[in-house]
Symmetry: C2
Subunit: 209 residues, 2 copies
Amino acid sequence: MTPRPRHLPSEERRAEAVEAVIRLAASTNPEEITTSAIAARMKLTQGALFRHFPTKDAIWQGVMEWVSDRLLARIDRLAGAETDPLAALEAMFLGHVDFIAEHPGVPRMMAGQLQNAGETPAKRLARTLVENYGNRLRRILAAARAEGVVPPGLDIDAAATLFLGMVQGLVMQHLIHGDSARMRADASRVWVIYRAGLLAAEHAPEGRA
Amino acid sequence: MTPRPRHLPSEERRAEAVEAVIRLAASTNPEEITTSAIAARMKLTQGALFRHFPTKDAIWQGVMEWVSDRLLARIDRLAGAETDPLAALEAMFLGHVDFIAEHPGVPRMMAGQLQNAGETPAKRLARTLVENYGNRLRRILAAARAEGVVPPGLDIDAAATLFLGMVQGLVMQHLIHGDSARMRADASRVWVIYRAGLLAAEHAPEGRA
DNA sequence: TGTCAAAGTAATTACTTACTCACATAATGG
DNA sequence: CCATTATGTGAGTAAGTAATTACTTTGACA
């Protein structure tokens, strides 16, 4: 083990800081993640952080970029591996849940950023991520409709909203129970209902079957 | 208009404070709701607040009780007015969305409390609300299953989770678009898919109809 | 009507926050 | 090997934060 160098290039320190925030958020309310807490986890003095970031919001920007890149890359890879649109959606969903199980602080941070009052750059990144995610959902849902996998009258925007809500419902359960394995198991069960909703939507409500 | 008395009984001031927090949360990140901000909205000095609350968390407790009482009372009233379980669920859902449209800060505050690290009394109240809400959902869903309105194999826990997620998905869209009327309209569209999911769950995935 | 407890004020407390700065140290290229 | 620059330190700063306190005002009621 090489004795850890005390001076690291700025780029590496920035990556370290982002990682520190992600890990801190797993067990802490994002609002309580102070620059001191970040520096402490990096074994750095608090002031040193500002050699690499001009402001605290810049750290949050870095974090949101990290989340965006990783999450979108993962769901694109998973969805791209499937030919059936519904299978692609399911892979996206389960992959997203896995991502959250691996990084439990992420939804907390997203929510924290989104509900910030002012228009900070970090908030804009968070919103852009949600939009990009929604675009991917709608694209796949449109493909499913075009292929006749789901009814032609399926409301795609509503289906996308419900998809995102499905993830958040699981996150809330996770916040309350704190059990990642359970969240993963619940995900499959919720998916069954969602999938049925996609397949059956707009059909006569009575006389099912 | 009677000239506003400067000295109010403590009970009224507490109610005022809770109301002030609810209204502040409509436009502010809950974490930024300081005792000074609350006092300012009440046209009171900051210190005076502590004549009526021993601590700031006590204010949050009051707020969470306010939310609990009002929300549960509303959904109980709406659901109780329906005989068909599915109609009751729909009334609950739309009533909940209305409640959020009237008090947009509520979901923000709930989320903020739930993700607090420590075990504050206010956090416990928030969690209790979610549990009570879930219990009501599961009771109605169980009734629907018993009456044969939904398939006997419907996963009730998953359906309840998805219901709560459905609300949160709308809240997130609302956070992004900031349009209450749109949220209300979207709610009906999302409900169609959810309802279809309840009715069709566990049926053969292929060959819909 | 005078009394007194409840309610309000203004100033202050101890503490935390993001951010800065003068100075020290490590890495790097000529 | 030395000079330059990037990185790190430790001790600041100003602007908040929740909570306290000495003192004043109000209003109800004996």
